[in-house]
Structure formats: structure tokens, C-alpha cells
């Protein structure tokens, strides 16, 4: 394990890392200088979470692949704009991935289709056996989600994995807008404490 306690190491995804314990933030700095080898390593480490979170939101494999490609290329292209003061590299990359998935559903998918897709919030089946670390992440997140109230948990998963806006979540759960905002925020505070995020 990496003794470095940045979010990059705590949330380090599972895929094989040919450069050992090289820190993600450091990799991104090299990517920004046009180092293609560093980009390949970064790709291997981040493609699982990037593709995974996009799949969660979009469901459709070919659309997810398309968006994931755009995201990873955007990481290459905008690496120089990464600011470690704003958070770790893993957070930067997964934030771009999630936003692009959301952009895609908010701009191109019909509302009815979207509701159909997001009605099911169960985790997708594993298509391939996953590395140990990813399942540790999964276990930790699952445990922390279980520590929430039902409405908090539903609000967070419908919003993040389901790609619903808080207004849509309020509609789905028959709760007022004010209540949804508070429940998402309170739930995230609990999650943050449970996951040991500083």
C-alpha cells in the first residue's frame, strides 16, 4: 500500500500499475508535459472507474464507451489545467467522467427514456472478475451507504449513479425540494465521515 494518504492512493483503482506506486497526481504532471507513457499508466489506473461510473449513469455500453473515450482524451488534453490544490487527480478525473455522462443524458436522452433507465438503481452485474482493491472500495462504499437513512441513501444513489437532478430525485421520492437538498447533504456528510475523508 502507498503510505501517502492522498485521495489518489486511498481510492486507487485496481488495474495493474506498470510503474509501481507512482502517485496519480505526479503522473498527471507528466501527462501535462506530453509524456505518453505516463498517460498510458494513468489510463490503466483510471479507465475502470471512468468507464464504470459512466456505465452506471448511461447504462448503454456503446454510448458509455464513446463518452469514456472523450473523457480520457480530455484528461490528456487538459492535464495542464489540473490544480492539486482543488483535490486529487482521481477526483479530478472521475469528476470529469461523471459530468460528461450527465451532460450526455441531460442533452440527448428523452426524459421518458431516462426515467426508465434510472428507475433501477441496483448495482450492475460484474462482467469480469474484478481486482481485489476495487472490491475493497466497493465494500467500503456499500458499508457506508448502509449506514445512511433510507431516504439519504436513495437520494444519493439516484442522484449520483442514476444521474438524476435533485428536482428529479424529489419527484421520484415524493419529497419536497428543500428536504432533498438537506438529505443529500446530510447523507454526504455521513459518508464523508464514514469513509474517513478529511
Amino acid at each position: 500500500m502507498n503510505p501517502n494518504d492522498s485521495d489518489a492512493s486511498r481510492f486507487r483503482p485496481a488495474t495493474a500499475d506498470r510503474r509501481g506506486e507512482r502517485d496519480l497526481d505526479d503522473l498527471l504532471v507528466h501527462v501535462a508535459r506530453g509524456d505518453q507513457g505516463a498517460f498510458e499508466t494513468l489510463y490503466d489506473r483510471m479507465v475502470g472507474p471512468v468507464y464504470g461510473v459512466i456505465r452506471k449513469v448511461l447504462r448503454d455500453p456503446s454510448q458509455s464507451e464513446e463518452v469514456a473515450q472523450e473523457v480520457l482524451l480530455e484528461v490528456w488534453r487538459t492535464a495542464a489545467r489540473f490544480d492539486p490544490a482543488m483535490g486529487g487527480a482521481a477526483t479530478w478525473v472521475t469528476t470529469i467522467a461523471h459530468r460528461r455522462a450527465i451532460d450526455r443524458i441531460r442533452s440527448t436522452t428523452a426524459a421518458a427514456d431516462r426515467e426508465h433507465r434510472t428507475a433501477d438503481v441496483s448495482p450492475p452485474h460484474d462482467e469480469v472478475a474484478e481486482a481485489v482493491e476495487a472490491s475493497l472500495d466497493r465494500e467500503r462504499v456499500r458499508r457506508c451507504l448502509e449506514g445512511l437513512t433510507e431516504v439519504q441513501r436513495e437520494s444519493i444513489t439516484l442522484a449520483y449513479y442514476g444521474g438524476n437532478s435533485y428536482r428529479q430525485v424529489a419527484e421520484l421520492l415524493h419529497v419536497t425540494l428543500g428536504a432533498i437538498k438537506t438529505r443529500i447533504r446530510d447523507g454526504l456528510i455521513r459518508m464523508r465521515d464514514c469513509l474517513g475523508v478529511s
Partner: protein, 271 residues
């Protein structure tokens, strides 16, 4: 006003999960974040929670994707770092946390261009290989595919030239019918690349036509290709003159000499 602020503050959670409703709400919240230190640090913590959730969703990606991304990266120019001219840390829109949504969308323009072009090219290449492997493939069919490939390559060069130009301008604008047009403009050579995303599908017999709308005359800049998964492959337009706007109209197929409907987009082109 106080109530309003309080109300905004509770949006930190929804914001961190990208669950705000509209671009205007995001803009408003970004502005709030630039003034509210405690909100910004709360959002940072929540983003880490979101990161853990993303990692928990880790899924094996299709293997072929890697090669495509690497190939696209090899021909994609990287953005230079932002030079900070002020020594004191400023919290302005440009240094707002994370990539602001709009500029992100704009950055995607060039990326979409590169990725989609990669797709088009690899498909044509596959077709060519297939045609070659089949002995009975007619020479005529093969030469047709080869012609397409050559065309694709020429198109690629035009794209690569613009995308590799030292000072491109990235523009994007929503159309009045929804969807976004994204433009990479090379003012020096007066060329641009345009791709669109999320335009409404058209009934049969109608096409989207691009125009360079100048102060003196309007020139056709070609038709938009049919969208795939909501996105159109990039189109190159040349010969832009000062005062031109990029226009988009719905026209009867196969296009018109001059626009016959009200433009759904009129994007000023700074050349």
C-alpha cells in the same frame, strides 16, 4: 437575500453530485462557491465521497478502447497551462473549483473531433481490410472504399491542421431548438471545424445546413452529416471573412442555395 444564500449553501451536496438542474443554477452556485470558503471545502470533501463511489463502480472497459484513446491522444494537441499573472491567490470565475461546465463542454469540441474522426477512419480501414480479404470482392467495390479512405485522410489532414494550429479559438453555443454546436476556429487561416451534439432529429427530406452569414452575403458551408448517437462528425468550413457568423438552418434536402428558414444558430466568428 439571507434566505437565498442559506438556500444556496444547502446545495453543496447536489452540486458535488452534479445534480443541479440547469446551467444557470450551476453558474449561480459557482459564483457562490468563489465567495464561500466553507462551501468550497465542503464540496471538496463531498467530491472525494463521489470519487469513492466512482471507484466502487469500477468496471472493465472494452480492451479496444485503449488503442483508440492512445491514437487519438497522439494526434491531439494539449492545452497549455493557465499562466497566473497575479501573485495573490484570486478566486474568480476562471479559478473556480474544477473545470467550469461550459469551458469543459468547449474543450470537448476538439476532443469529439479527434475521437469521432478516429472512429470514422478505423471503420473505413476495417472495411478496406475486409474488402481485401475477400477474394471475390469486386475491384470496383474496393476502389470505392479506397476512394472513401483517401477522402477520409484528406479530411483528417484538414482537421489536424486546424486542431494543431497554435492559436485556435474554441466556441460553443446552444441552438434555439436545443443541442449545442461546438466550433474550433483558426482565425489565422480563416478555417473552422464544427461538430454538434443533441440537435433534434429531422423528418425525412430535411437537412441541417451550415452558413457563413456575412454583412454582405451569405455562403453555404455545407450540410451537417446525420448524427450518430446524437453527435455529428466534424465539418470543416473555410474562407471565413471578418463579420461572419456561423449559421445553421433546417432546409429541404439536398440543401438550399440561400437559407429558407430562420437560423437556429448565429455564432459570431472572431477573425
Amino acid at each position: 437575500m439571507r434566505f437565498f444564500r442559506q438556500d444556496l449553501h444547502t446545495l453543496t451536496g447536489a452540486y458535488a453530485l452534479d445534480a443541479l438542474d440547469s446551467a444557470s443554477e450551476i453558474t449561480r452556485f459557482n459564483r457562490h462557491l468563489s465567495r464561500c470558503q466553507s462551501c468550497a471545502s465542503e464540496v471538496r470533501g463531498f467530491r472525494e465521497v463521489a470519487t469513492a463511489m466512482a471507484c466502487a463502480a469500477t468496471t472493465e472497459a472494452p480492451a479496444a478502447m485503449r488503442e483508440r484513446v492512445m491514437a487519438a491522444a497522439a494526434r491531439t494537441r494539449q492545452l497549455p497551462p493557465e499562466i497566473r499573472t497575479h501573485a495573490r491567490p484570486r478566486r474568480t470565475r476562471s479559478s473556480a473549483p474544477w473545470i467550469p461546465w461550459l469551458s469543459g463542454a468547449i474543450a470537448t469540441a476538439a476532443i469529439a473531433v479527434a475521437v469521432f474522426f478516429g472512429f470514422a477512419q478505423s471503420h473505413t480501414q476495417n472495411e478496406l481490410n475486409q474488402a481485401r480479404s475477400q477474394n471475390q470482392a469486386l475491384a470496383a467495390a474496393q476502389s470505392r472504399v479506397e476512394a472513401e479512405l483517401t477522402q477520409a485522410k484528406e479530411h483528417d489532414q484538414a482537421l489536424a491542421q486546424i486542431l494543431g494550429a497554435p492559436h485556435v479559438t474554441l466556441l460553443s453555443q446552444r441552438t434555439t431548438k436545443g443541442g449545442v454546436a461546438v466550433v474550433v476556429l483558426d482565425a489565422a487561416t480563416r478555417k473552422l471545424v464544427v461538430a454538434t451534439s443533441g440537435l433534434p432529429a429531422l423528418p425525412a427530406g430535411k437537412v441541417y445546413q451550415l452558413w457563413l452569414i456575412g454583412p454582405v452575403k451569405i455562403v453555404s458551408a455545407g450540410l451537417l452529416p446525420t448524427a450518430q448517437a446524437g453527435v455529428t462528425t466534424p465539418v470543416v468550413a473555410t474562407g471565413i471573412v471578418k463579420g461572419d457568423k456561423l449559421g445553421l438552418t433546417v432546409e429541404p434536402a439536398p440543401g438550399s442555395k440561400q437559407p429558407t428558414t430562420t437560423p437556429i444558430l448565429a455564432l459570431p466568428l472572431p477573425v
